[in-house]
Symmetry: C2
Subunit: 326 residues, 2 copies
């Protein structure tokens, strides 16, 4: 495990460096200053790490997949910058969001150019599978936008089922994970079976990751999390917890949760109360069970891969998603 | 000339059809309804037409370049949707803009997905030069974002030189024209000399097109133009006309123009006065001269191409840009 931690830190350092190097221009400053700000923020780099590991797991090298890894992280940052505008998020990764520190127009443009930058990095990939890689990447962008649209739609709907929710997160979050593992496998020259297994692995990991995210919104330590606690509740987000709790609640609890659904005067002082309801109805426990189940599903896919050290690290990667506190 | 008009109408019909066909999904409706709204708006389709003509001019066929042509129009529509948010534009192509008819969040997402859709179409191109085509396209997206950033920066600067302006429009507008002609030439299998000539042609055409756009903002017929007349003045845009007029103006005129620079309480009732100043100082005449000069420059490049019917149509295309009223 220690050696996996070490390898993760090493890869993260390489990725951080590549990310800052991906912008060489400085003008217009109103564009490149905030772009540098975004890409210099510390991040877990879980998606690019997945690309690198998937590539290695099928016999490729880290270097082959490095441009694609940078591309996926840049793309992910695009979604953060634009989503934060739409969700009125004040902070991200422990710092003010772009639309707060600058303004919404700047944040729109920064996001737009991040997409272009992501493609530029991706297209630097030297691989026989580049056409397929670009297709998979593009479908990723499409589905991420669809997922965010569903998410925003759901905010003003008052009956969102668990299935609706699962479809939404499979697009909004799951897709970039499955895109990452698939692209890594494609660049590494994996077999059809390996590519399929890694795609499925990424999909399950992505779902676990999002349910964990919903959970952390209410149970995390704000400083470590880097985002405002309870932000989902204030925005009326239809999270795993809210949907499950609403189904189980009765009487006063139900009325209380209803005010979140309807976004009626919920303020941060209601968050502890909501947390208490979630705990009492056992939905925090249920979320944890779902995450564990998804991680198990993901790990089953790894059995289809060759038994290598990198496969070992993918099990470690699954654990990391399962246990993350931020 | 009549046959060129006819061919233009034919190509526009094909492009309009392909544009509406590029969206097959309907959910999430909050995303796909406004996307269909955007792509069903009538447009001049000048950029995709340029791709098709450039491809034919070097010996390729219209069909080879059709996906790329659709891609560039979709990309252009992305810039319109996002720019309209930033510029508070109420109407476009004679209809309410997306952020007005829906809201800003919707318009952000619609623009984002249009980028993905543009890449999807582009990547369907069957061409040996596809890697180069994708690179040129991506640099186009980068520069369009840079151009828009400069444009927004300039709004709050009070000394913007003509050179600053020319750099800005070369990115914001010129680039997509040179990208179009270059991509067409690449797909058509043009020689290095032909590709270079067509790129330069597109660049000059793009500049003429933007100066014409600045001009139309004040002299066009609102209904035909499809946009609010004087929008640039109300937004404090540093247009060709304003920069030139400010340089020439003295006394009261200068003070009046200063209020536009500073965005101090300019309302639509001031627009006729500004137009009168522009006319009196001769900058409308100067703009027309610049456009003619750029068109001449563009046409000089066409001499490097084979003498075909399509080359004839490119001259016709230059004239269309020169004489457009909308």
């Amino acid at each position: 495990m220690k050696s996996f931690d070490k390898k993760y830190r090493k890869y993260r350092t390489i990725l951080d460096l590549k990310l800052t190097q991906s912008i060489r221009k400085s003008e217009p400053v109103s564009l490149y200053d905030p772009m540098k700000y975004v890409l210099s923020a510390s991040g877990k780099r879980v998606r690019p790490l997945l690309i690198l590991l998937a590539c290695e797991a099928v016999g490729g090298t880290m270097n082959q997949a490095l441009n694609a890894a940078v591309a996926i992280e840049v793309l992910h940052n695009f979604t953060l910058v634009h989503d934060d505008i739409m969700d009125h998020a004040p902070s991200r990764r422990g710092r003010a969001t772009v639309h707060v520190r600058w303004d919404a127009n700047t944040a729109i443009l920064v996001g737009d150019e991040l997409v272009a930058l992501a493609y530029r990095e991706l297209l630097r990939t030297k691989s026989r599978a580049i056409a397929q890689v670009a297709d998979v990447f593009t479908e990723g962008v499409v589905e991420v936008c669809e997922g965010q649209s569903f998410d925003k739609e759901f905010e003003s709907l008052n009956d969102v089922s668990l299935n609706d929710y699962l479809l939404m997160i499979s697009k909004k979050t799951g897709k970039l994970f499955s895109v990452s593992s698939e692209i890594g496998a494609l660049i590494g020259g994996g077999t059809e079976r390996e590519i399929q297994a890694l795609r499925a692995y990424g999909k399950s990991i992505g779902r676990a990751f999002q349910i964990q995210d919903d959970l952390l919104d209410i149970v995390a330590d704000e400083k470590e999390f880097g985002k405002k606690i309870g932000g989902d509740i204030l925005e009326g987000k239809k999270t795993f917890l809210l949907i499950q709790a609403y189904e189980r609640a009765t009487g006063k609890d139900k009325r209380q949760l209803r005010t979140i659904f309807d976004k009626r005067g919920i303020t941060s002082k209601h968050i502890p109360k909501v947390k208490e309801i979630y705990e009492r109805l056992g939905v925090i426990e249920t979320a944890k069970q779902w995450i564990e189940k998804d991680i198990k599903q993901a790990n089953l896919q790894l059995l289809k891969l060759r038994d290598t050290q990198t496969r070992g690290m993918l099990y470690w990667y699954s654990d990391m998603v399962l246990n993350r506190q931020f």
